[in-house]
């Protein structure tokens, strides 16, 4: 092709003499051309789906199975309960320690709705098969690749089929399947199918054997599970580690997230090709009817207007519109003012649930959460939510206090705490563990000027401090940078929302830090004088040759110090300036005296609103609602015993 391209002669011209001898005729080439099945394609390109290395592959398999389980439960309106089990597989030999093992059996069991018998093989052994791709509705899975790809990976590395047990109700029997994928045809192959006895009345259990590597730490299965719990406090999860340890994560939020609705595509979100396809596929007979019924936010009147502007009759058959007319129609649609898409298709986590999740899973002294109002990118509605946990937690802080008793050498720091903040990212409640730096969330965290909020940050780096930053994007279609769903693409609209959410979190953190600082500096003010008086008096005594009435001088100086710093008044002030979330909406502050703020404790609560905030500013909302401050009972009692001033605190709160 390229040689021809360079020659401007007509095609009849005799081929150049230098043309290589061994060529292939078009017929031969044609014979070699054949269809590539998606399964074959992904077998070769498994990194696209997140199976690049054994460690990541193990994580991806667990993730896909858990995502499916949670999606199924939520869609069926069942509070999810999931058991994840990892086992080391050894073929006859004594099992190696999990960190050395190379083969694992992953079993994920949910007590959800189950799957009807006919669908089981195709769900687990056919790529791009599922209910989620064709509809615009928020869910964890999007393409219908995940679980079947996991099964295919297992088949590829261990040769073992995927085992499924599923039961839809107590009245129906449980079905057991062993399926494999026919990679050439992208069709399931059933190896075994029978009815069995299963203890659970309903639910699904998937078992996949894969080659993998189990290693704790960053981007591990353990981390995935912990992060999942933070944004899914309504899930009860049991995790049995390869070491055989059982970790129970109880449900802390006893309410299903409101079920998201399915929506039709918004005209701004489609491309020309998509429009052409929709014109062909529609059931409507008229163009105006097509526009009004196949898109969201297009009223019959607006449809007429569009037709008029495009110069096409509203009565025209959609199938007859192509070429120039279709292009004009597309351009007119894009330039017409159309309402933003409806947002009831989204189910954000909600500020309370985020707070609850952070509070349960991460130790800290300050927590806050922000849910942004819905926004739109390319016709797809989305919601950004951010959460922030700051501090080391009381136990650690107390421990550090202990350590500080050792005299410090030159260059040593009192804080000794230069760790960078941790960013945890979510898309539709699923933690994203890889490709952090390619993600719009991470970039937004870097671009936020944290120094404005009293947090250190060197140029181009994450903010420094004991801090966890959580960002969640909920959307009917999350724009990932690749099929393995690891990083969110960098759309301006998304960046803007993330930045706004982070700034709000930052502002609240800044307020908290300033308040704490103020309270501490008052204390320090009096304290340093007391400390230094001792030093000064002793030095003076030595200067005077040890002939000084030191006690008298000390007393005199202490009196002056008291007078200068406001004396007893300061004590009162200190008690009152202890901080507290007044003016800090959706935040929790933990002090040695107790917890201040709204904490959803792990007990069943009366249903409260978890819908995204309406138009009202958060502050007003906060003021209007009677402040409900729940304290963890055991902490409260310890605080009282420790000699805090509960009476004083109570009056302050009532004020």
């Amino acid at each position: 092709m390229s040689t021809r391209g360079r020659k401007p002669e007509p095609p009849q011209a005799s081929p150049p003499a230098s043309r290589p001898e061994a060529t292939v005729s078009a017929v031969e080439m044609g014979a070699r051309q054949r269809e590539i099945s998606v399964s074959e394609f992904f077998t070769k390109n498994r990194h696209l789906l997140g199976f690049d290395n054994p460690r990541k592959a193990l994580l991806t398999c667990v993730k896909e199975a858990v995502d499916n389980a949670l999606d199924a439960c939520e869609e069926a309106g069942i509070l999810p309960q999931v058991v994840v089990k990892l086992e080391v597989v050894s073929n006859g030999e004594p099992p190696p320690p999990p960190s050395q093992a190379s083969r694992f059996r992953i079993t994920v069991t949910d007590y959800g709705p189950g799957i009807v018998r006919q669908q089981i093989p195709r769900i687990f052994a056919k790529l791009l098969y599922g209910s989620k791709f064709h509809r615009l509705r928020m869910s964890r899975g999007q393409q219908g690749i995940g679980i079947s790809a996991a099964g295919m990976y297992g088949q590829l590395t261990t040769g073992k089929p995927v085992q499924i047990i599923s039961r839809t109700s107590a009245r129906t029997p449980a079905h057991y399947f062993e399926v494999q994928i026919d990679t050439k045809k992208n069709e399931p192959r059933i190896l075994e199918k029978k009815q069995i006895h299963w203890d659970s009345h309903r639910g699904t259990q998937v078992t996949i054997e894969v080659e993998g590597r189990y290693q704790k730490g960053r981007a591990s299965v353990d981390e995935y599970i912990e992060q999942t719990i933070i944004t899914n406090p309504h899930v009860k999860l049991t995790y049995i580690t390869p070491e055989g340890e059982t970790k129970e994560y109880p449900r802390t939020y006893h309410e299903l997230p409101p079920s998201p609705r399915e929506i039709k595509p918004h005209p701004y979100g489609i491309e020309l090709g998509m429009l052409l396809k929709m014109l062909q596929d529609t059931k409507s007979h008229w163009l105006s009817g097509f526009l009004a019924s196949d898109f969201s936010r297009v009223s019959p009147r607006l449809a007429e207007e569009i037709c008029k502007a495009a110069g096409i009759s509203p009565r025209k058959r959609p199938r007859d519109i192509h070429g120039q007319a279709a292009e004009t129609l597309y351009k007119v649609i894009q330039s017409t003012k159309i309402m933003a898409p409806p947002t009831n298709c989204l189910s954000p986590i909600g500020e309370k649930a985020i707070l609850s999740g952070l509070y349960q899973q991460i130790k800290g002294e300050f927590y806050t959460a922000v849910s942004r109002p819905p926004a739109v990118y390319r016709g797809n509605p989305f919601v950004i939510e951010a959460g922030l946990a700051y501090g080391q937690g009381l136990a650690e802080a107390a421990e550090n206090q202990e350590e500080k008793k050792i005299p410090l050498a030159e260059g040593e720091d009192q804080q000794g705490n230069h760790e960078l903040a941790r960013v945890i990212r979510y898309a539709n409640r699923v933690p994203l563990l890889y490709q952090q730096s390619a993600c719009a969330i991470f970039k937004s965290v870097l671009d936020t000027t944290w120094r404005n909020y009293g947090v250190a940050q060197s140029k181009g780096a994450l903010p420094a401090g004991p801090m966890v930053i959580l960002v969640h994007m909920a959307s009917v279609w999350v724009p990932f940078t690749s099929e393995s769903k690891e990083a969110i693409a960098d759309y301006d609209e998304i960046r803007k929302e993330i930045t706004l959410a982070l700034r709000e979190c930052g502002r609240r953190l800044g307020t908290f830090l300033k308040r704490r600082e103020r309270a501490q500096s008052e204390y320090r003010r009096r304290n340093i004088f007391e400390l230094y008086i001792e030093e000064v008096v002793e030095a003076c005594n030595r200067l005077k040759g040890g002939r000084l009435p030191t006690e008298k001088l000390k007393e005199q100086l202490q009196k002056i110090a008291m007078k200068r710093t406001g004396g007893e008044k300061t004590d009162e002030l200190l008690g009152k300036k202890g901080g507290g979330p007044e003016g800090l909406p959706h935040s929790i502050i933990i002090t040695p005296e107790g917890i201040e703020g709204e904490v959803s404790v792990p007990i069943a609560e009366a249903p409260t609103e978890t819908a995204p905030p309406k138009g009202t500013p958060e502050d007003e909302e906060e003021a209007a609602r009677p402040a409900r401050r729940v304290q963890k009972p055991q902490r409260k009692t310890t605080a009282r015993k420790a000699g805090g001033k509960p009476e004083k605190r109570e009056t302050r709160k009532r004020r």
Binding site: L408, S521, V536, A539, R542, L543, L548, Q556, I560, K563
Partner: protein
């Protein structure tokens, strides 16, 4: 050791005890103990044109104990005063670093150290120097032996006779305290003193026995000369009436070194009286020299932003207002180049000894 030190309490000791008295008196009167410390910055110095010295102005800052911002500094000042007084009583000398270690401890019932690093204690010592009007030597604080001397000079150090003409090329290492009580000048037959900025060039001159041919004393401070070197040059100038010539690099820092030797420093302006040599002359390297001595342009170094800023600052100092100096600095700025003394080796290894300095001295080509 001098007899005056043996007295019951020296004036310096009395001054140090005065710090304690400030605290005690204020406490009795229920007032905030406050020390008043002269400001050590350019804003608080004046150039006495008549004397040719930088003098400290009257600007003072108050350091109060019961002020959150100053409390620690105040406490540190009292601690350092105590340590310095201890030196007086036991008649010892010490270094800045040892003072830091002596006064450093963790305050009782806390995790706070009195001093975290030496850069906290050094300024406090300088504060006490200026506010008590006591020289560092009088406070018994010494610096490192940072300089060398060679030439027809006989000294007495701790009763030892030191003949600086018979100490090879290495010379005598100038102690940091050269006050007459510690170091006496027994004999000096030189005609002038040549103070060289760089140790390497001093070595060149010493190796070539420049001092023998031109009958001079060669001094170096390895960069900014320490107090001992400056004080020795001043004593030779004052007691033996020797002219002092300063040989530095052709860059803003070289100019500043010269100006400190001549008029004193901004930071410790009150010491100019005893340290400065208002009649010292700048012999080189001057901005006109590269052309006059045929130094190729390629041995120059481009002025960086810092150099340019510094040079502009120098232009505004009252003690650089003479026409010769304004010309000198402006010429450097307009050429955009600086030259090191070492660059003279481009022509010949011994160019400095054999050609450059002889011609300079012969032509009396120096700046005042």
């Amino acid at each position: 050791m001098a007899q005056t030190q043996r007295a019951k309490s020296s004036p310096v000791e009395r001054k140090l005890i005065g710090v304690a008295d400030v605290v005690i008196t204020a406490a009795q009167r229920r007032q905030d103990p406050t020390l008043s410390i002269p400001v050590r910055s350019l804003s608080n110095v004046t150039f006495n044109e008549h004397k040719g010295l930088i003098e400290m102005g009257k600007g003072k800052q108050a350091r109060s104990f019961f002020n959150v911002g100053m409390a620690k500094k105040f406490m540190q000042t009292v601690l350092v005063a105590d340590a310095l007084c201890e030196l007086q009583r036991s008649d010892l000398t010490t270094s800045l670093r040892e003072i830091y270690y002596r006064t450093k401890h963790t305050i009782k019932d806390s995790h706070e150290n009195t001093f975290d690093a030496q850069d906290e204690s050094d300024p406090v010592i300088e504060d006490l120097e200026v506010s008590l009007e006591a020289l560092r030597e009088e406070l018994h604080v010494r610096a490192e032996n940072g300089g060398s001397v060679v030439g027809p000079l006989v000294l007495a150090d701790d009763g030892d006779r030191v003949d600086c003409a018979k100490l090879g090329k290495g010379g005598y290492s100038v102690p940091s305290i050269v006050e007459p009580e510690y170091l006496q000048i027994r004999k000096c037959t030189a005609d002038f003193v040549l103070l060289v900025e760089k140790g390497t060039q001093w070595n060149r001159l010493s190796e070539d026995k420049f001092w023998r041919k031109y009958n001079c004393i060669l001094l170096t401070g390895n960069g900014q000369p320490p107090r001992g070197v400056r004080r020795l040059a001043r004593r030779l100038h004052e007691e033996r009436r020797l002219p002092v010539y300063v040989l530095v690099d052709n860059d803003p820092w070289g100019y500043y070194i010269y100006s400190v030797i001549k008029q004193g420093s901004i930071n410790l302006a009150f010491e100019s009286q005893r340290m400065a040599i208002p009649k010292a002359k700048f012999i080189g390297l001057s901005s006109a020299d590269p052309e006059r001595y045929g130094l190729p342009r390629n041995v120059g170094i481009k002025l960086n932003d810092k150099d340019t800023t510094r040079a502009r600052e120098l232009l505004n100092y009252p003690w650089f207002q003479k026409t010769g100096w304004q010309q000198e600095i402006k010429q450097m700025l307009s050429s955009g180049l600086k030259y090191e003394l070492d660059a003279l080796a481009n022509k010949d290894f011994q160019y400095l000894t054999k050609k450059y300095l002889p011609r300079k001295l012969k032509e009396k080509d120096w700046l005042d």
